[in-house]
Amino acid sequence: MHMADALISPAVGSALYAVSAAAVAYSTAKIKKDALCEKKVPIMGVAGAFVFAGQMINFTIPATGSSGHIGGGILLAGLIGGPAALLVISAVLIIQCLFFADGGLLALGCNIFNMGVIPCLFIYPLLFKRITGKGLNYKSITAASIISVVAGLQIGAFGVVLETLASGVTELPFEAFIALMQPIHFAIGIAEGIVTAAALCFVQNARPEILESTSNSTRIGSSVPIKKILGVMVIVTVFTGGVLALFASSNPDGLEWSMERAAGTAELEAEGTAFNTAAAIQETTAFMPDYSFANAGEDPPLIGTTVAGIVGGVLTLVLAGGTGFIISRIKSGKGRTA
């Protein structure tokens, strides 16, 4: 469910960055208030490593031949509480993005939201704790785990759909996208829910104090802050989303808008012949303002220019690769003489 940078637009990316940053800041503040805050940091650090290791272990799903792995949001929240779990998931996602190219730097906000904020700050307090509230036993833990994991994955997958569509990188119709994503994640959710339940029951059996301390320490006043954070998040989303949408509607994207502000005009009226020719060229090819190829439905461009385009593109790539190669050669040559 990790979204990649290439799948999102800067506007969607930064809006969700803002929301996730607010959620992480809220969770940090919440944990700082905890009397056991100091002790929580090593626990959270090792728990993060655990999630990482856990996600690497595949289990076989009976009768299907396929395999799954644990996702971790609900499992972690059950072990160390919602806010702490969110911080841990965020740290894990950052590491996955940096070291494994799983997710992306710009998509980090989206990923933290879909896989961290949703299960840890919403599903866990609103569903999981409601169900286990009456008492921790195998039955309540199992029901809470399965329902929460399924709900978390459904909403998370829905988030992926909305974020991808809002970014405009795919033509996939909304209905088809939903029809693909939701059932797959329902099946994954059931399997993951069962494993989460079994793991939590195992811990409850071997070390009941772990689960009990979490469910007690976060019980106090858990209903009020959730409303507060919901409110804050709605405001942040509407604000950043709204402001960014304003740029986007008047101008294709926020980056161009900010360049316009910085440079005075949208097309960067710089001095010098290179810029003038470039501007002139852009005027002559105005029928395809930004696009490499003409807009759908309009007259297709001349074959000549298409071929030129492809050749030019390939040449640019070769040139770039060649530059890299030459630098490497020069460097290794230096290394040998030195």
Binding site: D5, S9, G48, G313
Partner: protein, 267 residues
Amino acid sequence: MPNIQNSVQNIYTLENLAAGGTVIHRLHPAAKMLSALFFIVTVVSFDRYAVLSLTPFVFYPAVLMALSETPHLMMFKRFFAALPFCLFAGIANVIFERSAAFSLGGLTVSFGTISLITLLFRTYLCVMAVLILIATTPVMEITGQLRRVRVPAIFVTLFEMTYRYTGVLLEEAAFMHTAYSLRGRSQKGIEMRHMGSFVGQLIIRSFDRAERVYAAMKCRGYALREFHARERKFTARDMVFAAMVFSFCVFFRMVSIDAVINALARF
């Protein structure tokens, strides 16, 4: 299980690369972080048919990898990790956008195909930007920078510890997994009915370890407070690097290469 071993190896190789001492390695972490982010934002800000306009952006990974002596093939393999979801969205475009963009010698290329190629290309550029950052910047420099911009100690320490113990727990999980599969029926994965106790066991080991780590930290006077990361000067060289990346991005964002090529073709 090879999957786990690969991950440990992966962290280890990137760490080794980051310990290098080239021009790029010596740059200020903030310069590299901002440049990578700016590059990614620029790349994703293009529309979904802009494959030609994106071509000049290959200069960024090509030049940086050469300067930092980062092996390209190894990095390229990582690119496949990011692929599945992008391919899914891209192939959907091929199916749903069938109108012809152009035809070449009887072969009609649809807008969907162009957008698929653009998407893959864009994925490649973004993945490379992130990997180059991490292959030239040790983790401690990144977290040091986070401390300097006043990210709370809780989060930075948590991040450092997660990073540190990922390797340790992956190895532990790998041992448990090997011990399991030597006795298990299937060589592939863990049967679902055993997964609960397998994961539960790993959780308990993790918590026990966390207790000992906490004790070891306490012995050394651990108290959660914001300690100041060593200041590091943003030198003229860092400034020049950032300025070059920024202007490179802005230039090729504004002046689209295909327009230049098209106009040249008309002369």
